[in-house]
Assembly symmetry: C2
Homo-oligomer: 424 residues x 2
């Protein structure tokens, strides 16, 4: 009898073998594989949506949270958006083969570095079926094979989507085994997958803090650790109040469930009386719960009709992933920097200030993947920062930091063209 | 009583704290720290050499191998060479602060990536005291703090060298604690050091295969795996014989103990009768032991006065680090590629050929850190490839591959300059 571990090893072997073939295909072939996938997402809409409907029904009766149900659900509009995303990735410049740092050495050796695929990417994710397409497409475009392991809530949707990708890429001449989907939903598989360093070159967890933590601790291969964003926005004394209100609102309300949403608002005491009541009205009006330190409470307590609650020590350093924000008043940029240093997760940190020197200090001294001046934390996003797409947001310092696009899924090899030089 | 683990944690804390200060110092200050170090290496020559003499005496009576004794020994000439190397690194362009991929997005956001130090580097090495200077200097130049743990054979030399670096950098304004030297030679320390992921961002093992393997398996932080080079040189049918002989000799005899020395010579059967006797005479004349497959034996067995021995299965895939080479005859470039794929360590692979298509195929298809055409494996070296210096040679695909110089000791952060843009 075949065990699930055997099954997984077969996924691994097939991915490894296909990676070798995939690495040699032209960018044209990989692009066509993606265009085919985009078309199939629209042509096979009914099949996808009915599988998704079954997943959704079962998950709802199983008591999945509304937020998770929302992430699981597909509809025509979402499928069209997914197809558009795939076409956009297809059209991005090919990252493979690009040669950089090319130079002639004094002895005439021609030295350069050429971008090559990493090999096999492993992806473990939760209930969002669009991640299946997202990651498969980024991997194929960057010449990598991939082993996908999605959550059991979306298993029917994911099976259909994975089969669709495999057929679409095969029609373009990419080996269909370059995209492996783990069909078993046995939880023990995750542990086994994290041991498969012979088959997987980089592991990407896409999901909640618990998944990211587990992968970071147990993976025997390199893994992207990221996704956990304890993000701060510091409103300096020299901030423009209107701009600060708009940026805070944008960073808290537009995508509250995303890792780049702001969690803690740090407000300079010199601007707090003018700024805090306005931003608090705006945020609470949009349904945000504000958890305030003593000094912020004393200002906001006097605003009629406003309901805010006291922060506890646990609020500092918490990623809410919800319509909740902590508020703290600080007396200087140093105090803001100290708070961020203590409680930040190295993900995204922003300042609003018209004071050039303060803004530059923040930019220089904050140690995070993305540091922003007069722009909200929501801009930590591969699309917004010009990568075209993103496979994850890394808080690692090795290899890639911040949003990871196609180039961040590559390695390089040194190429040396000689004419018989000896070193002696 | 203070345990060694406590002591190590103190090293860790001091390095971590200094890293923050170091990251903010100007390139000028870091350069001066290195110039001071170079001067001190020459000014304090007697002190260094007498400590080294004691190490050397003890190691010799302890029965250390000649090769290891050679690596341990310092003399005036080597100290001068070390000082020159330090001056060369001092003069290299500052990798920190460089901003790349700068662009303006359609909404006006100015986005870029700015190079920053990794933080704290850990280095574990063996009996070569010059590694103490090497790594400390590369780390300071790249804005990183470092924790050095050298082999016990060189403990006296290393203590003097580490103290010298600490004083030299302090005189320039770099915190002396940015360079930590682990004074205890307790072997248990290595295991503890590999657990200190809270203090060490990247671990670099510099030494034999056993050390590299152990670090790769036990390190809880990212580690460079490399240094183990099972290197092949393929002499194609279309090789120029004179060039091939010269490159093989250069790659085997000039630095037989280095990881980039050639281990297995693959020879196309079409050129073997003309090439093998010549290269065999050259190599055996230089003291190289040749271990040949059956077909190579049958050619070389007929050469008068030549002594070669049969290869066993263990020879394929062996890194000799000695005046030994395996020889195998292949019938095609495919067979050579297959052999390299099976037995190579992804370190350095070279071809000698005047056939353009064969050379390009080799360059495209070999999956290794450095791939060379008509140049020997000895050119896999940071200095030779234009990095100025190297901290290690990586066979990882993540972060850095091949020789790692200053830039490979950095990360980056994304910087975003806005004017109040919202994402909506």
């Amino acid at each position: 009898m075949q065990t699930v571990a055997d099954e997984l090893a077969i996924n691994g072997k097939r991915a490894r073998e296909s990676a070798r073939a995939l690495a040699r295909l032209s960018g044209q072939v990989r692009e066509l594989a993606l265009t085919n996938t985009a078309e199939a997402l629209q042509a096979r809409r009914d099949e996808i949506l009915s599988a998704n409907d079954l997943d959704h029904q079962e998950a709802r009766s199983g008591g999945l949270s509304d937020a998770a149900l929302g992430r699981l659900l597909l509809d025509e509009e979402r499928l069209d958006a997914m197809a558009d995303d795939v076409r956009r990735v297809a059209a991005l410049p090919d990252p493979i083969g690009e040669t950089f740092d090319m130079r002639s050495m004094p002895n005439g050796l021609r030295v350069g570095r050429r971008r090559v695929p990493l090999g096999v990417i492993g992806a473990i994710y939760e209930s969002r079926p669009n991640v299946t397409i997202d990651i498969a497409v980024l991997c194929v475009k960057s010449g990598n094979a991939v082993i996908l392991r999605g959550g059991k809530e979306a298993i029917r949707s994911n099976k259909v989507l994975a089969a669709l990708v495999r057929e679409s890429i095969a029609a373009a001449g990419v080996p269909k085994d370059a995209v492996q989907f783990v069909e078993s939903t046995d939880r023990a598989l995750v542990g086994r997958m994290l041991e498969m360093k012979e088959y997987i070159d980089l592991m990407i967890p896409r999901g909640g803090a618990e998944l990211v933590r587990r992968v970071g601790e147990e993976a025997t291969m390199p893994a992207v650790t990221g996704g956990v964003g304890v993000c701060h926005l510091f409103v300096d004394r020299a901030a423009e109040v209107d701009m600060a209100v708009a940026l805070v609102r944008d960073s808290k309300v537009s995508r509250p469930y995303a890792c780049n949403a702001v969690d803690t608002l740090l407000v300079h005491s010199g601007i707090a009386p003018a700024f805090l009541p306005r931003v608090a009205r705006e945020l609470t009006g949009a349904g945000v719960e504000l958890r305030c330190d003593r000094r912020a409470l004393s200002i906001l307590g006097q605003v009629e009709g406003l309901r805010v609650i006291p922060a506890t020590d646990e609020d500092w350093g918490t990623e809410y992933l919800a319509l909740t924000a902590a508020v703290r008043i600080v007396d200087s940029v140093d105090e803001a920097l100290g708070h961020i240093d203590t409680y930040g997760s190295g993900h995204t940190e922003a300042i609003v200030s018209e004071d050039y020197s303060v803004a530059m200090r923040f930019l220089d001294e904050v140690d995070a993947g993305v540091v922003l001046v007069n722009a909200g934390t929501v801009f930590n996003d591969g699309g917004q920062l010009g990568l075209g797409s993103e496979v994850a947001i890394s808080t690692n310092k090795l290899h890639a930091r911040g949003p990871m696009g196609l180039r961040e899924l590559t390695s390089y090899k040194w190429t040396v063209l000689g004419a018989g030089q000896v070193r002696g």
